[in-house]
C-alpha cells in the first residue's frame, strides 16, 4: 500500500455541494485496511471530548479547522500514522486525470492536507530502536 498506515477522509465543501454556509461535510472515511462508517467516527469523537467538537452536527463541521481537529482525533482513535483530508473536487480531479489506481494513490499526498500522528510514530520508532538495541 503506497500510502502506508493511514486514514483517508473525503469531504465536500460549499463550492462543491451547494451547502448553505461555509460549512464542510465529511462524506467518506476509510483506512488502509477497512471502511469506517460515520457512526464509528462519531463514537470516536464522542469519546475524545478534547477536540471541543460537538458530535451532534457531525459529519457537518463549521470550518476547515474543525475538520482538522476531528481528523487528528480520528487518526489517534484509529491508531493510524497519518490522516489525509481530501476534498471531493480534488479527488474527482484525480479520477479524471489518472487511469491507474497506483497513480491515483501516489497523487493523494500532493492534493490533500495531511496530519501525522507524531506520538504513534515516535512510539513505533522507540520500539524499533529498542529492538535494534540502539
Amino acid at each position: 500500500m503506497i500510502l502506508g498506515s493511514c486514514l483517508l477522509l473525503l469531504y465536500s465543501d460549499q463550492s462543491e455541494f451547494h451547502l448553505k454556509s461555509d460549512s464542510i461535510e465529511l462524506r467518506f472515511a476509510l483506512t488502509d485496511e477497512r471502511w469506517v462508517e460515520l457512526n464509528e467516527l462519531k463514537q470516536i469523537l464522542e469519546n475524545r471530548s478534547t477536540t471541543g467538537l460537538t458530535a451532534q452536527t457531525f459529519p457537518r463541521l463549521e470550518k476547515f479547522e474543525d475538520l482538522q481537529k476531528a481528523a487528528f482525533a480520528l487518526c489517534e482513535g484509529l491508531q493510524k500514522e497519518k490522516v489525509y483530508m481530501i476534498s471531493l473536487s480534488a479527488f474527482n480531479s484525480l479520477i479524471e486525470h489518472h487511469e491507474g489506481i497506483e497513480q491515483i494513490l501516489a497523487q493523494i499526498p500532493s492534493v490533500s492536507t495531511s496530519i501525522q500522528n507524531v506520538e504513534l510514530l515516535e512510539k513505533k520508532k522507540n520500539i524499533f530502536s529498542r529492538f535494534l538495541g540502539d
Binding site: E33, W35, F91, I95
Partner: protein, 574 residues
C-alpha cells in the same frame, strides 16, 4: 527483460458461468476458439460496445474496416457452434467499457453521483473507468443514431438475434441505482431548462423545496427517452429490458478497490438483494483475486442457475432434471422510493422469520403473475402484499385475476384510490362474495372466492404502533396462511438460499423438495441449528465444502468452517 505484450487469458474474453462474451477483447480470428470454450453456456450474452463501432458518434463500422466490429461474422460463428446470441444493448453507461462505452469524442461531461463523487469504476485490470453524463444532448443524439444504425445493419446483414436492453447499475443502501442519478453541472443545466419549459420557477437555487420532485420526474423522463429510442429503433429484435447490477461498482466499492480490500461479504449481500429485487448480476468488474471462493459459489448458484434461466424464461436443464426455483412465499408490491412495508414492520418481520423467501416488485405484470405454472398454483407459491397508492388500473385488474385464480392478497385498503375502492365494492356485489369482518390491531375485511382470499386491511393507525405490536400482528396474520417452512437458528454472518422444486419420479411421494444452501464467507467457524418441523424430512446433503453435519432426531447441527458451504435437501409431505 520486460514482457510488454498483454496476455489475453480465457477469462478476459469470456465470463465463465455468466455466459458473457466480450468480442472486442480478442482478435476476431480467435472468436471461434474462445466461443468454443466449454465454460460458455448455450446462450451467449454479447454486450454491444458503441465506442468500438464509432469513435466520433457519426461514422459507424460494422466490419468494413475493423474485423472486430463484424457482428455478422460473430453471430455466424455462434450459430455454427449451436449457440444462441443475445445482444445486450446499453441503456446507460456500461461500467466495464472505457468511457462507459460511448465514443471517445462524446466523452466530455463527467457524471457525478448525488454525493458529489465522480461516477467511475475500477475494472478487473485495475484501471479507472469514467462515466459521462447521459444528460449531455450530444450523447443522446449519438445514442439514438447508434440504435438506428445498428438496426439497419442487423436487417441488411440478415442477422437474427435477440436484443435486450441492459440497464446498468449497482446496489447502494439496499436500493438499485443507475447512472441517471446524475448531479453534474450539465444535469442541473438540463433540469433548469426542463423546469422553465414547464412554466415553473427556475431552479437557480438548487435547494428549492421542490427540487427533489423535479429531479425524480426529470430522471424518469430521460431514462424513458433512452429506453424508448432504443426500443423503437430496434423494435424487430427487442425482447425487453433488464436491470443488471455490477459487483464492485458504487462509491464505496470504488474506494475500497482503490485501497485493495473489496469486501466479499458486502458483495455476497448484494447478490441476495438482487434476488429479492429481480435484478441480474455481473462480476466482470472483479479481478480473479477479488472473486473469493464463496462469492464464486454463490454466483454459480444464484446467477447461473437461477437468475439467467429466469431471465431467459426457459429451463436450462429441463430435459435432464426438474429445475430448482427460488422459494418465494411473498411478493411485496411497492413503487420505487416508497417504504410502505418497511414502515408497517413487514420487511423486518420477514427478515427475521422468512429471510430470503420474499421478493420486492415495483409492478405487477400479468404474464408473470398469472400462475400458469401448475406447480406454483398447486403449492400456492406466493402471497401478495399490495399497497394501493400509485397502483395502475391494469395492475389492479391483474390483482383481481390473481384472486380469481386462487391467489392470496393482502391489500392496504387505506392507500387505495377511490376508483379502485369502488371497483372492489362492485366486484363484491357482482360476484356475491363472502365478506368477513375481523377486528385485530387494525380493521380487516376478508373476501373469499374459492381458494382465493383478499385481506383488505386498513393500516391508517398501524404505522404508529411499536415494533413488538407490529411483529405480533404479522405473526398472527401469516400464521393463518398455513405456510410450511423450516426456521433456522443461524449466525447473522451466514448467508443462505432457499430453493424448491417439484418432486420427481425418484423422490417417493413428497409434495415438493426444498433445498437449503448455506454459505460461510467469514473467516470464522460458524454453526447453524435446524429443528426439523412436522411434514419435513432430510433427504440428503450435497455440495459440502469444508463443512460438517450432525443429524439427530428432528434436529440438525451444521458446522461451517471459514469459507465453506453445504446444501441440504428436504422432502415435504402431507
Amino acid at each position: 527483460l520486460t514482457l510488454t505484450t498483454p496476455i489475453i487469458e480465457e477469462a478476459d474474453a469470456c465470463l465463465p458461468g455468466e455466459n458473457w462474451f466480450f468480442y472486442w477483447k480478442t482478435s476476431s480470428r480467435l472468436w471461434r476458439e474462445k466461443l468454443s470454450s466449454p465454460l460458455l453456456g448455450r446462450e451467449v450474452f454479447i454486450p454491444l460496445f458503441w465506442g468500438l463501432h464509432s469513435e466520433t458518434g457519426q461514422d459507424y463500422d460494422f466490419g468494413h474496416s475493423k474485423p472486430e466490429t463484424n457482428l455478422k461474422s460473430l453471430v455466424e460463428i455462434c450459430k455454427s457452434l449451436k449457440k444462441e446470441v443475445i445482444f445486450l444493448f446499453p441503456l446507460g453507461p456500461m461500467p466495464f467499457l472505457m468511457n462507459g462505452g460511448i465514443p471517445s469524442l462524446l466523452a466530455r461531461c463527467p457524471a457525478v453521483t448525488p454525493s458529489g463523487f465522480m461516477q467511475s469504476a475500477i475494472n478487473a485490470d485495475q484501471k479507472v473507468i469514467r462515466m459521462y453524463s447521459p444528460y449531455d444532448s450530444r450523447i443522446f443524439q449519438g445514442y439514438a443514431q447508434f440504435a438506428e444504425k445498428l438496426s439497419s445493419y442487423l436487417v441488411s446483414a440478415g442477422i437474427s438475434a435477440q436484443v435486450w436492453g441492459l440497464s446498468p447499475g449497482y446496489f447502494e443502501n439496499e436500493e438499485f441505482k443507475d447512472f441517471f442519478e446524475d448531479r453534474s453541472p450539465i444535469f442541473f443545466q438540463a433540469l433548469n431548462r426542463y423546469v422553465r419549459k414547464k412554466n415553473q420557477v427556475p431552479t437557480e437555487n438548487p435547494l428549492d423545496e421542490n427540487l427533489e420532485d423535479y429531479i425524480s420526474e426529470y430522471q424518469t423522463l430521460i431514462r424513458d427517452l433512452y429506453l424508448n429510442s432504443a426500443k423503437e429503433a430496434l423494435s424487430t429484435y427487442w425482447e425487453g429490458e433488464m436491470p443488471w447490477s455490477f459487483l464492485g461498482l458504487g462509491q464505496k466499492d470504488f474506494l475500497q478497490s482503490l485501497f485493495g480490500f473489496l469486501d466479499e461479504k458486502k458483495l455476497t449481500q448484494e447478490l441476495f438483494l438482487g434476488l429479492k429485487n429481480n435484478v441480474c448480476f455481473s462480476s466482470c468488474l472483479l479481478g480473479q483475486s477479488q472473486k473469493g471462493k464463496v462469492l464464486t459459489w454463490q454466483m454459480n448458484d444464484v446467477v447461473k442457475d437461477l437468475l439467467i434461466p429466469d431471465f431467459l424464461q426457459h429451463e436450462s436443464n429441463s430435459n435432464t432434471q426438474v429445475k430448482n426455483k427460488l422459494l418465494s412465499f411473498f411478493t411485496l408490491l411497492t413503487k420505487p422510493g416508497q417504504k410502505v412495508w418497511e414502515d408497517l414492520g413487514l420487511v423486518s418481520f420477514l427478515n427475521e422469520f422468512f429471510k430470503h423467501t420474499y421478493e420486492l416488485r415495483s409492478k405487477l405484470d400479468f404474464k408473470k403473475e398469472s400462475m400458469e405454472d401448475d406447480f406454483e398454483r398447486e403449492t400456492g407459491a406466493s402471497y401478495y402484499f399490495v399497497n394501493g397508492q400509485d397502483l395502475s388500473d391494469s395492475e389492479f385488474s391483474v390483482l383481481l385475476k390473481i384472486f380469481m385464480n386462487g391467489g392470496q392478497i393482502v391489500l392496504a385498503s387505506d392507500s387505495l384510490q377511490k376508483k379502485h375502492e369502488q371497483r372492489i365494492e362492485a366486484f363484491i356485489l357482482e360476484n356475491e362474495l363472502n365478506v368477513e369482518t375481523l377486528k385485530q390491531d387494525c380493521p380487516i375485511r376478508l373476501l373469499s372466492l374459492g381458494d382465493g382470499r383478499i385481506f383488505l386491511i386498513d393500516f391508517k393507525h398501524f404505522k404508529e404502533e411499536g415494533v413488538e405490536q407490529k411483529f405480533k400482528f404479522w405473526d398472527r396474520l401469516i400464521s393463518t396462511l398455513g405456510l410450511r417452512h423450516i426456521m433456522l437458528d443461524e449466525d447473522r454472518d451466514i448467508d443462505y438460499l432457499w430453493l424448491r422444486r417439484e418432486a420427481g419420479g425418484q423422490d417417493l411421494s413428497y409434495e415438493e423438495i426444498r433445498r437449503l444452501k448455506l454459505y460461510n464467507s467469514s473467516s470464522y467457524k460458524k454453526s447453524v441449528k435446524i429443528k426439523i418441523p412436522e411434514h419435513f424430512v432430510l433427504i440428503k446433503y450435497l455440495d459440502s465444502v469444508n463443512s460438517e453435519l450432525i443429524s439427530k432426531q428432528h434436529e440438525l447441527t451444521i458446522t461451517l468452517n471459514p469459507k465453506s458451504m453445504i446444501g441440504l435437501d428436504f422432502g415435504v409431505f402431507q
